[in-house]
Amino acid sequence: MLEMTKDTAAAGETKVSLKNLQLSFPDQSGGVKQIYQGLDLEIEKGSFTVLLGPSGCGKSTLLNIMDGLLQPNSADEILIDGEDLRDRPDLSRQMAYVFQGPRLLKWKTLAENAEFGLRGLGVQPRDRWPELMERYFAAVGLSEYMHHYPSQVSGGMQQRAAIVRAWVNEPQILLMDEPFSHLDEITAAEMRRILVDLWRAEEVHRTVVFVTHDISEAAQLATDIVMLTPAPSSICFRRKVDLPWPRHIESDEVMDLEKELRKAFAERAGVRF
C-alpha cells in the first residue's frame, strides 16, 4: 500500500541507487545493441533530477527499470530507500509515472482517469480521494474541467490531467518521461511553471526524475543534472543546480548554465547542438 506520508529525510540522502546496470536489446540487423554496460546512478531524496541525453541513449529505459516495468540483464543493485526493488516489487507503488503523451483513457473523464491511478496503486484511505483530486486539479487549474472527457479539452490540459493522475497519488518518486515534448513551446513553458510550482509548494519535496533531451528545459527545472552519453550510455557529466525559481529562460544564470551544458555535451558526450 502506498504510504501517503511525505519524504521526511533530509536532502543528501539517497533515494534511488542503481549499480553496475547491464542491459542489451537485439537490434534490427540481428545483432545486439548494448544500452548500459555497468551504469551507476544515484538519485538524491527530494531532488529534481533531470536525466539529459541524446535520443536512444536509454533515458526512458532507466525510468522503466526504476518503476519495475523492465528488468535489466543484470545489476548489482536497484535500490529504493536502501531496499532492492527486485526483492520488494511493492516499492514501485511509491512511484507514479508521467509519459510523453497523456495516455488518458478517452472513455473516462479527467477525474475518472486520475481515479484510475489511485485505484491501481491502491492509495488509502479511499475517502481522501475526492479531496486529493480537488486539490491537485485546482493546483493545475483544471477544477472546472474535472468532469470533461479528454476529447473535450486541449492537448495541454490533457497533459496537465496526466500530471494530476500521477501527483494525486502523492508518490515519493515521480518519474517523468519527456512529458512536454509534444506540446508547443508556450504550453510547455506554462506546464514547466505548473510543475515547479507543484513541486515547490510542498514543504518536503518529492523526488522527481525527469527525462529530457532539451538542454533549456533541464536548465529551467533541475536541482541536479545527470548527462548521459549515447548508448552504451554512461554518465559523462553531473552537476547540482542552485538557481532560484522562477528561472527565466533569458536570464544570465540560465543562459550560462545552458552554455555549460552544451559545452559538456560536446566535449564529453560527443553531441553537438
Binding site: 518503476d67 516495468l69 514501485s92 507503488r93 512511484m95 507514479a96 509515472y97 509519459f99 503523451g101 495516455r103 483513457l105 478517452k106 472513455w107 473516462k108 484510475f116 491511478g117 485505484r119 491501481g120 496503486l121 491502491g122 472527457y149 479528454p150 476529447s151 493522475r165 518519474l175
Partner: protein, 246 residues
C-alpha cells in the same frame, strides 16, 4: 438542432420513397404493384386485429436468440484470436469458409441436416453472425493502444481493473456497431429460413401471400419486417449515443 435536422432528413427520405411507390403504382396500374396506401391499410389491419404479433413474435424470438448466440460466440472468438496467435491461425480458414459460403446454401443444409426446428434456425443465425461479429471485435482489439497497457502497468492496475476499466469500455463502440450489423443479418437469415422451411413467422406469411398472389398483403408483411428492423436499429443507435458519450 442538429438532431432535429437529421431526423427531418430521414423522415423526408421515407416520405419520398412512399410517394415514389404510390406514383409508380398509379402509373403502372397493375396487380403486381399495389399502391402504398393499400398495403399500409393491410398493415394497419394486421396490427389492429393482432394478427401481426404471432408471426412477428416467432421471428423475433428466433432472431434474438440466434443473434445473442452469435454475438457471444463472436465476441469470444475475437478476444481469443487476439490473445492466442495459434487459435487465430487455426480458426482463420474456418471463419473464411463460414463467411464465403452463400447464406442460402447454409440455410438449406441446416434445415436438411438438423430438421425444421427453431433450434436449427437459432444455431444457423448464430453461426452466420459469429464471423461477422468475431472479425469486427478481433480487428478492433488489435487497434488497442499498447501505450495504455504501459500506463496501466505503471499504475499497477490489476487484471480485473484493466478488463473492466480499459478493455471493455474500449470495445463497447465496436460491440454496438457489430451488434447492429449482426442483428440486421440475423433478421434476414431468420426470415429466409422461415420462407424455406417453416409454417410460422414473418417469412412464412410472405411465402403464403406470394403463393396466393396477394401482393398488397405481401408488401404489408414486408413493411412490418422493415419497420421492426428500423425500430430496433434506432433503439441500438439510441443506446450507442447514451453509452458512448466520449
Amino acid at each position: 438542432m442538429e438532431r432535429f435536422k437529421e431526423y427531418s432528413a430521414q423522415i423526408a427520405s421515407l416520405i419520398i420513397i412512399l410517394l415514389g411507390w404510390e406514383i409508380s403504382a398509379l402509373i403502372m396500374d397493375t396487380r403486381a404493384l399495389p399502391p402504398a396506401s393499400e398495403s399500409f391499410a393491410d398493415l394497419v389491419q394486421l396490427i389492429r386485429t393482432g394478427d401481426a404479433f404471432g408471426p412477428l413474435g416467432s421471428t423475433l424470438f428466433r432472431t434474438t436468440c440466434g443473434f445473442a448466440l452469435g454475438f457471444v460466440m463472436g465476441c469470444s472468438y475475437g478476444i481469443a484470436a487476439v490473445l492466442s496467435r495459434t487459435f487465430d491461425d487455426l480458426s482463420k480458414w474456418l471463419l473464411q469458409i463460414a463467411m464465403f459460403t452463400p447464406t442460402l446454401i447454409l440455410i438449406f443444409l441446416f434445415l436438411v441436416i438438423f430438421g425444421r426446428t427453431s433450434f436449427t434456425v437459432i444455431l444457423l443465425i448464430g453461426l452466420v453472425v459469429l464471423p461477422v461479429v468475431g472479425t469486427y471485435i478481433r480487428d478492433s482489439l488489435r487497434d488497442f493502444d499498447e501505450e495504455l497497457d504501459g500506463m496501466a502497468a505503471s499504475y499497477k492496475a490489476p487484471l480485473r481493473q484493466r478488463v473492466f476499466e480499459m478493455y471493455l469500455p474500449f470495445l463497447i463502440p465496436s460491440m454496438l456497431a457489430a451488434g447492429r450489423i449482426g442483428f440486421t443479418l440475423s433478421w434476414k437469415v431468420g426470415f429466409l429460413a422461415e420462407i424455406f422451411g417453416f409454417s410460422n413467422g414473418l417469412g412464412w406469411q410472405i411465402r403464403t401471400t406470394y403463393q396466393i398472389y396477394d401482393v398488397a398483403k405481401l408488401l404489408a408483411w414486408l413493411s412490418l419486417f422493415i419497420l421492426t428492423l428500423l425500430v430496433i436499429e434506432q433503439m441500438m443507435r439510441f443506446a450507442e449515443r447514451r453509452v458512448v458519450k466520449w
